[in-house]
Assembly symmetry: C2
Homo-oligomer: 340 residues x 2
DNA sequence: CTGAAAGCGCTTACAG
DNA sequence: CTGAAAGCGCTTACAG
């Protein structure tokens, strides 16, 4: 009943053999006489020896771990992505350090560099920052990074994105096909890559249908309850109010639904990004779904590909498709009393 | 532009000083002449040196990391808990390895021992297994473990639980107060500690009200769509059907809502565990809320307390309260055509 | 088949 | 103020 952990040295001493012989047994290297192996195994069992992986990996120059930087581990998008990364990492006998940047570039940088200081084998980053120059020395030194959901700034690296523009365009075209001409876009802060990309898709759909782009029908800001309340009041009021809403992500959609419950209007609605219970709401919510697990899986696979081989090859960008799921809210006609 | 990372040795050579002097500068130990410090800083900058934390920590006998074993990182309960653990760990300059057991004892054990092999400073575990004997040597060797949401089996360790029985009793008493006498309990698999504890609370409430316990109104099984469909068909049918439902966790509640949408009955409903959009559904869902973030925070604080001091002291058990949030579904009266 | 030495990149304990 | 040596717990490269 020793308080400290036994080491290979302790095992070697007890078994009466050299350190290297213990190492051979532990690593199943063969070329150890059955008799010696027996004695070593007995010593291992008696002492309760378990190899220190950290020490082993230090000698081998890797850590069998990767760092994952997310916006917020607690967010469904992030946590589903995390789980997918975990599965791929497990297949490569690697562990995952995960952390939240809270959309703060300073925190992103701190977290990422903390992972680098631990010498993680590689990084997967949902970037919040406006520059990633700070990563250049790390990448040059052999720590590859893969960016997910948003591209890096100022540097070249493997990136996995969603077809934001195409998905948004599909969503808005769907509303147009159901007769709407006054369609509001409620998106997240314009500093967020995906918010701007989805705005572009919204505009492309309007243009393709010959509808005017009316800035008073758009709102791009962090989806706080208050901001969404004011935005809804604005786009649903006036002479020519919106009859349909396109919500830029599921945080926005949820807030919109919450505020809409307090109002009389029942505009048609399509959300970007699926969410639990979308199918149970009344009406069920039509969405353009992305696949956060597939984002995570693809990013992790790209990373382990780099780690396994071509470390300096050209950076790849993968763009994943979205999928329209009509459920009811997106097929509502123009409500009486509103619109043309 | 070297491909390998520079080490302190490289810095020392370039600055023309001893290794220990570089260490002094890096650690801000003082007692270095300004002139020497200057040269060292210049060398560090020139080489882009960043200390290898793993090597430093090996020498110091810790890893400044903890292991977190969850049921499923992607589950909202787990991911909110994870985020809270992350925040406490950050304050202690520690990183978090997180992994999912999928409610599989073998996977729990593998994951936990993998963390121990990396010599994490401590463990936080939402246990799936029926025995935790395997942890005894690890705990003896100085890796403390804190259990969350469910107690460990076969061993003594710090534990953070929710008042499952009290919360369940409150939920059922609430339904009784609204006139219900036929109340079904739909819970998770009976092998799960919390499912059984909540069943006990359900029974205690019935007994306190002088209502009979009718086993045909209970269902304890993993909440698959099919199992819930059958269970609902059973408890809502017959001569004396249930007029109210008590759902044992939010996975059950969500499935129940999904199936209920396809049926004509509108029983009253209270769920254990809050969930996003519970307030937006029609009717809004009454719940007994627990606080997953507080669970994570408390567990992490207990762990760092152990790490900071009294490592062998008596194991503590903390029990967190629940909170009834009436929203509508739990206040529905007995529906016409059902009940007495 | 076996082991002593050197090394992974740092810190600790000691000596000057 | 400064540095050479030993050590954290392993593996690698080498010699027998």
């Amino acid at each position: 009943m020793m308080s400290a952990r036994p080491t290979m040295k302790d095992v070697a001493a007890l078994a009466g053999v050299g350190l290297k012989t213990v190492s051979r047994v532990v690593n199943n290297e063969g070329s150890v006489s059955p008799d010696t192996a027996e004695r070593v195994h007995a010593a291992i069992a008696k002492l309760g020896f378990r190899r220190n992986e950290g020490a082993r990996l230090l000698r081998q120059g890797r850590t069998a771990s990767i760092g994952l930087v997310l916006e917020d581990v607690a967010d469904p998008f992030s946590s589903i992505l995390t789980r997918a990364v975990e599965e791929v990492a497990r297949r490569h006998d690697s562990l995952v350090f995960a952390g939240s940047s809270d959309e703060d570039p300073v925190r992103e940088r701190e977290l990422t560099l903390a992972f680098c200081a631990r010498r993680v084998d590689g990084l997967i980053i949902v970037p919040a920052g406006d520059t990633h120059r700070y990563l250049v020395p790390e990448i040059m030194a052999g720590t590859p990074a893969v960016f997910v959901d948003r591209p890096p700034q100022d540097i070249n690296a493997d990136t996995v994105l969603v077809d934001n523009e195409g998905g948004a365009q599909t969503a808005v075209e769907h509303l147009i096909a159901h007769g709407h001409r006054r369609i509001a876009f409620l998106g997240d802060a314009p500093s967020i890559f995906t918010a701007t990309a989805r705005l572009a898709g919204y505009r492309a759909a309007l243009e393709a249908a010959g509808l005017p782009y009316d800035e008073s029908l758009t709102h791009l800001a962090p989806p706080t309850a208050e901001a969404i309340r004011h935005a809804l009041a604005r786009v649903l009021a006036g002479q020519d109010p919106a009859t349909a809403l396109f919500c830029g992500n599921n945080r926005v959609t949820v807030q919109v639904l919450r505020e809409l419950a307090k109002r009389p209007e029942r505009p048609a609605l399509v959300g970007f990004d699926d969410f639990e219970l979308a199918d149970v709401l009344q009406p069920p919510i039509t969405v353009v779904a992305q696949d956060p697990a597939e984002l995570g899986r693809t990013a992790a696979e790209l990373l382990f590909e780099r780690l396994g081989g071509d470390r300096q090859g050209r950076a790849k960008t993968v763009r994943l498709p979205t999928r329209l799921i009509p459920r009811g809210s997106g097929e509502l006609p123009i409500a009486r009393g509103n619109g043309t």
